[in-house]
Symmetry: C2
Subunit: 147 residues, 2 copies
Amino acid sequence: MKLSTRSTYGVRAMLALALHQRPTPFMVKEIAEQYDLPATYLEQLMTLLRKAGLVTAVRGAHGGYILARPAVEITLAEIIEVLEGPLRLADCPAGAACCGHPDTCALADVWEDARRALTNSFQQVTLAQLAERHANKQADAALNYAI
Amino acid sequence: MKLSTRSTYGVRAMLALALHQRPTPFMVKEIAEQYDLPATYLEQLMTLLRKAGLVTAVRGAHGGYILARPAVEITLAEIIEVLEGPLRLADCPAGAACCGHPDTCALADVWEDARRALTNSFQQVTLAQLAERHANKQADAALNYAI
DNA sequence: TGAAAACAAAGCGAAATACTCGGATTAATC
DNA sequence: GATTAATCCGAGTATTTCGCTTTGTTTTCA
């Protein structure tokens, strides 16, 4: 019951892109080094994110990736669903003897509620918010260090 | 990002116990048959639930399991945490270069929020509620069938 | 005493996860 | 144009986790 590394790597990489202020694309190798992620693996993930329309690739020399949309318009839910698949927590065994009939299965509602709660939690966080929080925390840390 | 079968089997078995009205213990083999679960595997899970204090075992012939507490006092969150482990969705790589320092990691908050949302969702459902919903749905289904 | 149940620990095959590798494509630069 | 630097793509692989079985022990009722 953990998110796979795909999701967490992906989110971190997307955060990296959001924090990367320059207009030039950010290349996988750089992201991987700065955020300590396996480069070739991250490459795969970036391709998935591109196919999902979350990032845009710039091919060839001096290429890399940029966010396909403003960071304000990208939620963690999107990123995670692309890399993790739908967040269904359990499939009620349709036709199996879970409780005779799918429509009498009280559990289906429970799993659905949980899915909604989880999805909602991730939908409320945009990349922009995350980047801001990150910046704030870093500033705080620097301040404490100075004292 | 699914719950393991352990959790779902466990929840179903616990629901079985809640629905099992007779005062005699309900044995694993019966539960397994009625709810179509692998018997020997379920045996393991029941042992875990017992160690966690959710069920009481009656050993020897004519033994089996009964709920250790009234169904109204057992939440799905308890059952799931026993069988699934804590619902932490990701561990922020402490010390690793996630974002320099753990305390500057904005992501930790996100994962923690998600965990809370999920846990809360499961905490709100007791076995008693589940049993009631189940009974209602069954009654509805029977009614529709009669019509 | 024998049968029936929970208990315990180990083992095991299949599937998923987390990668790596080799080469093909694309594009900027010399 | 050649070179180089990047993404793209498909296949391959090692490791872990999952789901379940097996074997045997202990407990208790009849």
